[in-house]
Each structure stands twice: as structure tokens, then as C-alpha cells.
Symmetry: C2
Subunit: 89 residues, 2 copies
Amino acid sequence: MINEFLLKEFGERIKSLRIDLNISQETLSHKTGFHRTYIGMIERGERNISLINIAIFAKVFEMPISELLNLTTVNPNHNFSDYETKSEK
Amino acid sequence: MINEFLLKEFGERIKSLRIDLNISQETLSHKTGFHRTYIGMIERGERNISLINIAIFAKVFEMPISELLNLTTVNPNHNFSDYETKSEK
């Protein structure tokens, strides 16, 4: 899948914010309303999350989606030039 | 659907950037690799776009996903306090 590295980076971002709050996956599950299994899959970069679900995490971490998706926080070399389009594939 | 207003704001963001580039939906379709019908649905806020597909638009508009999702550009009152979680529903 193209751009799959983003799912890994997003998962690291969620895990890192969860650890900053000192809460378990189970607590994050209660706060978001997502199943604990889904939280685990997101943190491992195994799900291509939708915009609506990204906003649910952003609400719990009290930041706009643009800040949640600032992935230079987990990868200082994060750069849009690494994204791929479907037409380049 | 919760957080549906975000799909509308994202659609406006895409349309606004496309107009700034002075390109048609058809040209954006060629650049992204998405079907023109999908571009139309996204611009009208009718699709809950995934992270991987958000990155495809970001690549074409030459900016990180965090910047593409800066929705204060289309709604100055955009605020994360308006996002909802599934547990509040």
C-alpha cells in the first residue's frame, strides 16, 4: 500500500501522546469510544484511519487534527516529498 | 455521522487549493490518480477520506498533511472542542 509509512508514524504519534498522558490502551479506549483492539492496531500502524476517526483521537488529546498530524514529532525527517500519488505508482 | 462537518471543511480546503492552482477537477484527477467522481465527492464533503488518501492530495499540493489539514484556512472558527468522540455520542 502506498504511503503506508504514514500509518506507522501516526501510530507512534498516538502511542507517544497516550504515554505522555500516562494512560493505558484500555483507558484510551474508554475516552475515545473505540474498541481496545482497534487502538492496538492503530498504534502498530495496521489501520488506514479515516478523517472522522483522526478527529476523535484529536479531541481526546485536546488538539486540532493539524497538530495531531504533525508527524515531525515522531520522525524529524518527515517530508511531504516522500508521499506518493496513485498516478506515480 | 459524528464529526461530519470536518468532511465539508476538508472538501472546501481541497477545492480552494485546486482553484488557487487554477486546475480543473479533471486535472486534479490526473495528478492524484483518483477518479474524477471521487474528487467531486471529496470536494462536496461526501467521503470520509483515509489518511493514505489525504497524503495523496498533500503531495499534489506540495505540503505536509498537517498543513493540508489546517482547516482554520477555510473556517476561522475551526476548533478541536467541536470534535466529538464516540463515547460522548
